[in-house]
Symmetry: C2
Subunit: 381 residues, 2 copies
Amino acid sequence: MQNFTFRNPTEILFGKGMIAELANRVPRDVPVLLLYGGGSIKRNGVYDQVKAALKAHPRVVEFGGIEPNPLHETCLQALAVVRAQKVGFVLAVGGGSVLDAAKYIAAAACFSGSDPWEILTSGGAAITGALPVGTVLTLPATGSESNGNAVISRQATQEKLAFGSPLAFPVFSVLDPETTYSLPAKQVRNGLVDAFVHVMEQYMTYPAAAPLQDRFAEGVIHTLVEVGPRTLAAPRDYDARASFMWAATLALNTLIGCGVPQDWATHMIGHELTAFYGLDHAESLAVVMPGLWTHQLERKQAKLRQFGQRLWGVESPAETIARTEAFWRSLGMPTRLSEYGVNAEEAATRVRKRFAERGAVFGEHGDLTPALVAEILRLRA
Amino acid sequence: MQNFTFRNPTEILFGKGMIAELANRVPRDVPVLLLYGGGSIKRNGVYDQVKAALKAHPRVVEFGGIEPNPLHETCLQALAVVRAQKVGFVLAVGGGSVLDAAKYIAAAACFSGSDPWEILTSGGAAITGALPVGTVLTLPATGSESNGNAVISRQATQEKLAFGSPLAFPVFSVLDPETTYSLPAKQVRNGLVDAFVHVMEQYMTYPAAAPLQDRFAEGVIHTLVEVGPRTLAAPRDYDARASFMWAATLALNTLIGCGVPQDWATHMIGHELTAFYGLDHAESLAVVMPGLWTHQLERKQAKLRQFGQRLWGVESPAETIARTEAFWRSLGMPTRLSEYGVNAEEAATRVRKRFAERGAVFGEHGDLTPALVAEILRLRA
């Protein structure tokens, strides 16, 4: 096992009715920014629950319109509101995009440099402080509700970058499975695959004498496989939705990655597919990962074999890859570039060029070069 | 799944060499109490490593001699030192007993009532504050390094009581598997069984639509079963010791118990066997739990069956109990009262009387009366 440090200070408030706890958790002595996305929370009743819980709070400033793949440009508008209103607490209500935007805005509000985009280009190292952030999660997927990570896109440059910082963990997150009942099936499917891939990025590398981490990772996948189809078929099955929600949190709250090698190449490549072609985040991951595994089959074979045996009851690494892809497809998730009308050769060329410009290499061995990334994408026509 | 709140703010510093991090984690602007037990840390080099890490700290006050099943009376002596020296930080170096004592001393130092024992009789509700506590764990077993719980004994009254409080979590804990190399085999065996039983107290109840919690609990047990015999056979196998250590932490850092019913009757009964007959904590648990399961077989049968299938590959609840007890015995752990020269009938009578005096009932259904506890103990002759 590798050495590690682990700290996750976020308080989780889990279950039906927990939004009411905002009354006790959100401070009343500072102006609060209520941040949300495209307005679904106004249609599904979550907005009303939040406003009711905050009715004794003297100053709540609203900012709506955070988009999927939240834009730097939009966050700057919210930042102007934060500064003008002297906001002291950010309450994010929505999915991972809104939560990520809240983290970026909260860090940018305390940023002393001239351009907060440096928070992204530094990977988070430039963060020196952040306003406290609380969240009400309405879309299980990213794990953003219980980690210090965020992904922000910049429209002007077609960039999509990530940052992480111990200063960016939410102080609390409310997870009420009932808030997810009205999600479109596509978003549930995306969330299931996103959480699945988060686990795999921390698992599908090479054996590292970490049997407990392996068991926990496999436990999240067992759960997604068990409740995923159920929750798609019956959106108001509370228990299935609850286990999906908790599994997505545990998939990326930094616990299962303690002391083990991590990959994350699928995410890095997928971000480019989103930036260039507009695939949803989870869609991009489902396209890339089977190609990455196939390309790296030899070096990942021990973990592929273990995963196949324990999850799918199969022996060969190739069959493990096929079964995993088939599971995602059974959820309604496409896994090929052609299904999005994207030419694989063109995608390979564009992504290779961008990574070469950045001098980027990826993977648990740090040797997945832009040329190899292009080979992977060519496998996903 | 039941509603829950979860927050675990303890920073874990895991791996070889991590004791050096004390230099950066222990504050220098307040006197520090260095708390330890019977002196094993002076023989195995841990004390020297700690002192070296603290060499730039201007004021470190030492208090040794915390006993296994730490005594209220000894903690009061340490409390006098804390007050006299104006200690502002407690650094506990040792096993669960030292860590538990540190939590009690830290809470007692901020206690406004007349008798800090009230912290125990209130179960922790009387705690209004605590000095910050850091720990260096040298014996994987209790999970005290990453939770807000402690168990303290009172010599004068032969009582052994527990408390828990969100204010009692350590701010950090150093887990270096190498510090455990010199542990006697008996303490390793005890730690393995203690961690095993901690998981079972949060698992072996009734199905609660919490498949992820079940998988995590089973994952800890899978790991203990895999590395337990290895680490007993080869104490300096770093990886086995590391997984044992991390598994014992995850067994009781409050994560796997989120949203599920919990039992803890085995602990409550075991505490009395320790108080009356001096059994080690883990020894008492290994005696009680098979009896509890057998007595409650019908109501626990669904989880016994799941556990048997997933861990031991057996179908019947009775066989699950037998296989579990056999695993503990394979580690060298006795499981019968007669093996300690304790008369089961006498133990049943004494424990029943004490619980009756307290009006105590236990178990996940809250209906395990003193008379039923006596029946359980009679099964363990």
